[in-house]
Symmetry: C2
Amino acid sequence: MGQRVRPTRVEDAYARLKDEIRTNRLPPGFQATEPEIAIRLGMSRTPVREALIRLEAEGLVELAPRRGVRVLPVQADDMREIYEILTALEPDAAASLAARNLSQEDLAPLEMATSAMEYALANGNLDEWVEADDRFHRALLELQGNRRLQNVVTALYDQAHRARIVTMRLRETPQKSTEEHRAILHNLQLGNAEETRRVFRQHRERAAKELLGILDKYKFGQL
Amino acid sequence: MGQRVRPTRVEDAYARLKDEIRTNRLPPGFQATEPEIAIRLGMSRTPVREALIRLEAEGLVELAPRRGVRVLPVQADDMREIYEILTALEPDAAASLAARNLSQEDLAPLEMATSAMEYALANGNLDEWVEADDRFHRALLELQGNRRLQNVVTALYDQAHRARIVTMRLRETPQKSTEEHRAILHNLQLGNAEETRRVFRQHRERAAKELLGILDKYKFGQL
DNA sequence: ATCGAAATTTATGTATGCATTAAAAAATGC
DNA sequence: GCATTTTTTAATGCATACATAAATTTCGAT
């Protein structure tokens, strides 16, 4: 299979930093210099720098000229931008997938993710719910196949993920959202492209509205 | 204004390489090692490397383990991916712009780009036509305002640009395409969101079909 | 001539060194 | 005290050094 290459330090730095950012352990606004990060990760500045360039390209950090790296905040306006794009992209992708009339087997990853969401919801496990939600959307993209689309959407998810973690606790339980996922899956199974698109679009628009409402309401200065 | 910082070598390397790739002076499939590029650009490997990482993130080159950099080809499948995304994004963006009922003045950049296309078409200046077309789409995005959307679409344009240059010569004159731009602009002026979306979507779908037809027909092994 | 092993070359990943210059701190004058 | 200048500190951009390992060539044996 894919020749196992020994992981490089750059990859390590990239993965670790990205994970810490995604999970808010390196919170928005966090700032540090290259040497500081290098020491923390136990390597020289070179691989750290290269990892940071990648993270910057993905929109997770900003490399300020003399102040080092800053983890970018995700504020209401950012989420507006992100959801605007997702609302345009995902329903289309789902519709094209529905048109392909996939087998139950092909759709299994979506079925599993949906069930996991329902299960997590029933148990009030919000973190797990968010993860399952993520899996659903990623699996859908993978099935759809457009690699560039996957990259674009994934990058946006990674940016939005942090805000979602925080707002998760400030909203009602995601009952509605879970039902919508089930409905999307149902329409994918039926191969109903137009209805899939409609339901998905509505899902995104409702979710965006809800999330933005919370962000505006609580006015996170630096989220 | 934005404090003029002396351009760094990384920026220089990035800009030069990107331009050479965009214009096919570094054609798809071109391959070189880091030291080779460094010598060509008159700098050490370090800034070259950092520029290459950026270009890789943008999907223009591939950093193969031991073979150095390779300029990525843009084949039919790639264009299919790119146009699928653009078809989902741009019509939506245009529609949201139309809904804002912009003034003639605001729309001036689009007017100028459209006129330039018509002029270039009349004079059979295809290179200029492509550039004006590019300006139209970029101006529209800028007006629309979503920064992330701009980045995503711009990156896709940069990838597609090279294929467009080549196929330009193998197709009929872009009469139809030019008219469609005029129609899009017209609907933006009228503030007709739904019709703007429809016309734009049709524009994208027709353009994609045409371009893919040419790519499939001529079967560019390595474009 | 053909194959395989050993030697050589060289691209990469990473560390380190260093000049430049921004920022912070200290010192000076009012 | 407060503002201003000087000094010090230290972060970055870039060059260079170097170990490792892949690729290539050389060489020898059959």
